[in-house]
């Protein structure tokens, strides 16, 4: 499934590890382009992930009802947090993104998984998400269009958007591709 960053398809160096998959040893992810591995573990296996020898990058995948605060101590050692939309209707991941950026000042990658809609792309970015793993069958072009749709927004968000004119308005600055 394509990974989208700033409206563009990018290569995905990360490996998702399921709840029952064996955890690969550091530096042992096959086909990894960069030295050292990058694995995303479910929250239930966070301790296990953190206990691996140093050298690889670690990410954690949250469920919508997981509390962000549980990551407080581990967060400095994480390079990625994945949030998920079980359906596009379930907007809890928006608040999780915001909490990661605002409460815990997480500087790393926030990856969106599950089944978001392209029409939610701008919202995701403005709440602090960085990448989206596109749902099966989605056309990246539709997402790219959604990304470029709006030039302004009406409220403060996590991104450092410039004020536009007066009032609450913000200019949606596009990061270079």
């Amino acid at each position: 499934m394509p990974l989208l960053e700033n409206g563009q398809v990018v290569e995905d160096p990360w490996t998702m590890v399921g709840p029952d998959d064996p955890l690969p040893p550091t530096g042992a992810v096959p086909g990894d382009a960069v030295p050292g591995d990058a694995v995303i573990v479910p929250l239930s296996r966070l301790e296990e992930g953190l206990a691996r020898p140093p050298g690889g990058k670690l990410g954690v995948a949250l469920a919508p009802d997981d509390e962000i605060a549980v990551l407080r101590t581990a967060l400095p050692r994480l390079a990625l947090v994945a949030v998920t939309f079980p359906t596009f209707r379930d907007g809890r991941a928006f608040s999780q993104c915001r909490a990661l950026r605002e409460h815990l000042d997480f500087p790393g990658e926030i990856r969106v998984t599950g089944r978001p809609l392209p029409d939610q792309y701008e919202f995701l970015l403005r709440c602090g998400a960085s990448t989206v793993l596109l749902p099966e069958g989605d056309d990246p072009a539709t997402w790219a269009r959604a990304h470029a749709r709006f030039t302004t927004a009406y409220q403060p968000a996590v991104r450092d958007e410039r004020a536009e004119g007066f009032g609450l308005r913000r200019l949606l600055g596009r990061l270079p591709a």
Binding site: R89, R98, E102, D119, Y154, Q155, E164, L168
Partner: protein
């Protein structure tokens, strides 16, 4: 001012009175939104979007699929319109609908007979007059409502339109709060007399001057009607204006994170507030408020001032003797005198008054207006009220600033087009949802009951004798007709395929907000109107001098009224 500057000032178009004036940035935003929806409709028609995926997208543009056709709900932010916008609504009614529209309890307008293919064009037409249908539906923050007499009422402490506009902007395509567990409704009052039903909203805000005259807000949360009618919890007092957005972000964020999503009937914030308790909810909001980046969400006074500056202000000059002129006209014309007594509201400025146009003609459908009536109201607004029009949550229309010496002329013109019914606040001023005639959720028809009651109590003398009495009718337990808050509430229920009506008494949406109590077994349709007539008779017999129906009910209890309704030989 130099001659050149004076010419420039003259050339600059005046800002519309009543609502915030759009500029090119606002218009570009609306254009983007229309094009987004055009693309969504095209994706739906091509099959790229399933109906399941399209549904929330169309709902966020106010497009419902109802019993017979698509229904389009158009946003009228905080109920404020101008004549140009009203004429465009009339045009849409004529061109794309069946020549009429329906004003709703959310201060919006609904068209009932819309084709999906036409909606992008209708939205483009709306955008051409700075209007839209954004967030009139869906699980997001809905159209913010406010006092229909805002900026005009004699009892007002703070003009709530500016904050309602700030909340409109803040909530428009809010990135975090566009996929909430359920719909979310906010009302703002700037008067100590609650005319916005603040305690029946997800969030109700009551603005008032605090220390040094700075605006502060009393905050209510978790009120609402529907299946679980609840009066909102008083969350806090004296919220500083600068923290308004930050605090609301915290309130809604807690709801987004913890509101139930497993059962749509338990997904409203009122259920969360009940589950956590007021203290529990408040503690979570306070924790969120403390943890968030407050500087980012601060609402500085300069921003408020900049938005306030986008509201046109009426030139409230009235000739000396305007009040005397009105008094003379009232003395000379009894019908006008009655209308002036029931259908006006005191204005903050001498020589002015706010006039209410009843959309509840005797035997009519509450809230409906034809295209011709909309055009006529637009003309009258231009002539008598700076082109400004307000929609009330009681489904009526207000001209906010009418010179007292011109009120008689306004009334004569209204009478000529059948819009001078003198029943505001009286038994004929009925709220009714569209019911089974239009709505796919309804169990019973609300409109015929409303029409029969309105015809039954058509006599203006009788209505004035009865006095302040609010009847509110819902066709199902979702309570769009606010029956829980009616002094007399009527709820349509389905009993084995037949329409029955359950009566509730004692509800109120004001400062004394209360949920009405069920009186007894539901009645068949043909018995309901008679039962209400007996109930009103019982009140007239037992009331103390000057006592409202609601107060008589509260003093005497249900038994007397129960007897009147059910003890029929």
């Amino acid at each position: 001012m130099s001659a050149e500057a004076e010419t420039l000032a003259d050339a600059a178009p005046a800002l519309p009175v009543g609502h915030y004036a759009y500029d090119q940035v606002d218009r570009a935003f609306l254009h983007d939104r229309v094009e987004q929806f055009r693309d969504q409709v095209a994706r739906r028609i091509s099959g790229a979007l399933s109906e399941d995926e399209f549904k929330p997208l169309r709902l966020m543009n106010g497009l419902y699929l109802q019993l017979h056709a698509y229904m389009l709900r158009i946003a009228i932010p905080y109920g404020m319109l101008d004549s140009r916008q009203m004429r465009e609504l009339a045009h849409i009614a004529r061109t794309y609908d069946r020549d009429y529209g329906h004003f709703t309890t959310r201060q919006n307008l609904q068209f009932n007979w819309i084709r999906l293919e036409d909606t992008p064009d209708i939205l483009a037409r709306l955008a051409s007059v700075d209007m839209h249908a954004i967030q009139t539906s869906g699980n997001c923050i809905r159209n913010v409502t406010c006092d229909q007499f805002a900026g005009a009422a004699a009892d007002e402490l703070v003009d709530p339109r500016v904050h309602a506009e700030i909340l409109r902007q803040w909530s428009t395509l809010h990135p975090e709060f566009s996929f909430l567990p359920r719909k979310f409704k906010i009302a703002v009052s700037g008067s100590p007399h609650d005319r916005v039903a603040a305690r029946f909203h997800d969030i109700g805000l009551v603005a008032k001057p605090g220390h040094g005259g700075k605006v502060v807000f009393d905050v209510f949360v978790g009120g609402g009607m529907g299946r679980t009618p609840l009066v909102g919890v008083h969350l806090r007092d004296n919220l500083p204006e600068e923290d308004l957005l930050a605090y609301l972000e915290a309130m809604v964020r807690v709801y987004n994170e913890y509101g139930r999503r497993d059962n749509i009937y338990k997904a409203r914030i009122k259920i969360l507030v009940q589950a956590l308790g007021a203290e529990g909810y408040r503690a979570r909001v306070d924790a969120e408020f403390a943890a968030m980046d407050r500087a980012r969400y601060r609402l500085p006074p300069e921003t408020v001032a900049a938005i306030r500056a986008r509201f046109g202000t009426p030139d409230l000059a009235a000739p000396a003797g305007a009040a005397e002129s009105l008094a003379a006209a009232r003395a000379a014309d009894r019908a006008f005198d009655r209308w002036a007594r029931t259908n006006t509201h005191p204005h903050r400025h001498p020589g002015y008054v706010s006039a209410v146009i009843s959309l509840k003609p005797d035997g009519g459908i509450p809230g409906d207006a034809t295209a011709a009536q909309m055009d006529r109201i637009a003309d009258l607004a231009d002539r008598f009220s700076f082109g400004e029009i307000r929609i009330t949550h009681m489904q009526n229309i207000v001209l906010g600033h009418v010179r007292q010496d011109q009120l008689h002329a306004l009334w004569q013109d209204l009478r000529a087009v059948g819009l001078a019914t003198a029943n505001i606040g009286l038994i004929g001023d009925i709220i009714a949802c569209p019911g089974l005639d239009y709505c796919s959720l309804a169990n019973a028809r609300s409109i015929p009951i409303a029409q029969k009651l309105s015809a039954r109590f058509a006599s203006p003398e009788l209505q004035e004798t009865i006095g302040d009495l609010q009847i509110k009718i819902s066709g199902c337990i979702n309570a769009c007709g606010h029956h829980h808050a009616g002094h007399i509430g009527i709820l349509g229920v389905d009993k084995k395929g037949e329409e029955f009506f359950q009566l509730t008494l004692g509800g109120s949406a004001g400062n004394d907000a209360a949920v009405g109590q069920i009186l007894g077994p539901a009645l068949p349709e043909d018995a309901t109107v008679d039962a209400i007539a007996r109930l009103v008779d019982a009140y007239l017999v037992h009331r103390n001098t000057g006592e409202r129906f609601l107060d008589t009910y509260r003093r005497l209890g249900a038994a007397l009224f129960k007897d009147a309704v059910y003890a029929v030989a």
